[in-house]
Amino acid sequence: MSLYFKYVGMLLKSQMQYKASFFMTAVGQFLISFTTFLSMVFMFSRFNAVRGFTFSEVLICFSVVLMAFSLTECFFRGFDVFPRLIKSGELDRILLRPRNEMFQVLASDMDFSRIGRLLQAVVMLIYAFITCDINWTGLKIITVSLMILGGVGVFTGLFILYAAFSFFTIEGLEFMNIFTDGSREFGKYPVSVYGEGMLKFYTFVVPIALFQYYPFLYLIGKSENVWYALLPLLGFAFIVPCYAFFRFGLRKYKSTGS
């Protein structure tokens, strides 16, 4: 664990070498998600609900997803830039070191400029909580934190999956964006908005509904099912098959060298 913080320190030190760039990028990151927010405001200015959800309620979804995604992008960026690690030979260097490969990939890169987005997510969440009528209970407070954590779990799984695919195809990787960037982009609305079929897809295939939809229903009081509050924990189980697939890819890498 202390080694992990050593890595964090090194990365911080490196990124702070370029303060102007860091600041600009953080502002840019913020603007990207802020314009998404504005688009949402514009849509709701024409109508004040979608599929029975109010703007404030949708905002909870958006901020949870954005928060989980930017946390994942910040701390698990190593998987996001994994194709680069393969191409530049850094993966070989990782394999030459007497530590777990996953740990080293995880620690190899972090992007702290994502703080721009994180900040926005926090502000939106606070705003949503103020304007939404939520009957706060202890369990609901836990639900919110589980949603965020579960989101980090699911996105981490997706990032690992992305990295694992890059063992097999570098060119074809773009299709993974449907799942990684797509989940962030479309997760801004409760996934039931996209219809019954997509809700199933997002429950059983790319399980973002586990942390974004079902516990959200419980939180805003649309569902009394207490189990919904605990579903985000299942999101962590999603990492397991992704990890297994990554190991499989790594074995292939070791046997083909590419």
């Binding site: 030190k13 030979g89 394999l95």
Partner: protein
């Protein structure tokens, strides 16, 4: 001890053909070809040995090094290094080895070198005392004291390479793999690096495997040479053996007074005219002194020089001989 037995490795490569029509076809169907990167490679390297591993590009050098360092799994064959199979006990194995890639960096670009070193210390779990000892030793031998506080991106290539080598040796490995450690370095840096490699091999009894295209590296460092071509080990012997095989050819350059050089069956005139000529002799047929005295009987020699084959030329003729 490093022991390779009948190691084989085949790669599948996608064919890419030129031209528009071919490119459209490739959209739907891909063709593959198979490359035998290593065929039946066997050799043994003893502890404390220094071995030069040479061969043209694509001969299989880096595949072998990757297998020995546990990055690559061979299709068949055995590789035992210090009693372990590299790709099976990766973590245990890599503790014992150090690897320097001349073309890649393991230093962190934007932070002082010493920070990279400390991170590597923690990765390898080197104890405080051992780290202190090896760092001070390396600092002295590689003359690093001035540059340890500098970020890697500001170092010259020579300085960086010295730091790279130090970084690979901080955990005091038993075996050091060097992949083109002197590529792109200026003359004095090259010599410094070579001197250092020599001294750790001597002092610490570190086994060194060196792959390079720079034959002066080989000449300066290694006694034993492994030549690989088209995935096979073609030659395993000392540098002298290799030289003797090919260095029987010498060229005499003669400045003389007279019309032309005398013909002789035991040598070959390469060039002649205007009082200057070049003669190629094979010392197994005629010695240089005999050839000179024969020429001096016919024409008056003003100046003469004898040049043998350089080691680079030796290697080229070796490649030619094996058609690789």
């Amino acid at each position: 001890m490093i022991e390779l037995k009948n190691v084989c490795k085949t790669f599948k490569v996608a064919k890419r053909n030129a031209g528009f029509g071919e490119a459209v076809k490739a959209l739907f169907k891909k063709e593959y070809s198979y490359v035998n990167a290593l065929q039946d490679v066997s050799f043994t390297v003893n502890d404390g040995e220094m071995v030069g591993y040479i061969g043209p590009n694509g001969a299989g050098k880096s595949s072998t090094v990757k297998i020995m360092s546990g990055i690559l799994t061979p299709d068949s064959g055995e590789c035992i290094i210090n009693g372990r199979t590299p790709w099976k006990d990766r973590i245990e194995h890599v503790r014992d080895i150090g690897v320097v890639f001349g073309q890649r960096s393991q230093l962190w670009w934007d932070v002082p070198v010493i920070d990279s070193f400390e991170l590597i210390r923690d990765i390898y779990k080197v104890s405080k005392e051992d780290y202190k000892k090896s760092l001070s030793g390396l600092t002295e031998l590689l003359n690093l004291s001035e540059i340890l506080k500098t970020p890697a991106r500001q170092l010259s290539l020579g300085q960086r390479m010295r730091c790279e080598i130090a970084a690979s040796l901080l955990h005091n490995p038993k075996i050091l793999f060097l992949d083109e450690p002197t590529i792109g370095l200026d003359a004095s840096s090259k010599i410094a690096v070579r001197e250092f490699i020599k001294s750790i091999n001597k002092e610490n009894k570190t086994t060194v495997i060196l792959t390079t295209h720079d034959m002066q590296d080989i000449e300066a460092l290694t006694d034993r040479i492994l030549l690989i071509g088209k995935g096979r080990i073609l030659l395993d012997g000392t540098l002298d053996e290799l030289k003797n095989r090919h260095s029987s050819l010498k060229t005499l350059t003669v400045d003389y007074l007279g019309d032309k050089l005398p013909e002789c069956e035991s040598y070959k005139i390469l060039k002649d005219g205007n009082g200057r000529g070049e003669v190629l002799i094979d010392t197994r047929i005629i010695t240089a002194s005999k050839a000179i005295s024969f020429i001096s009987e016919q024409v008056e020699i003003k100046d003469i020089s004898v040049t043998g084959e350089t080691i680079d030329e030796t290697v080229v003729s070796l490649y030619k001989e094996f058609a690789i």
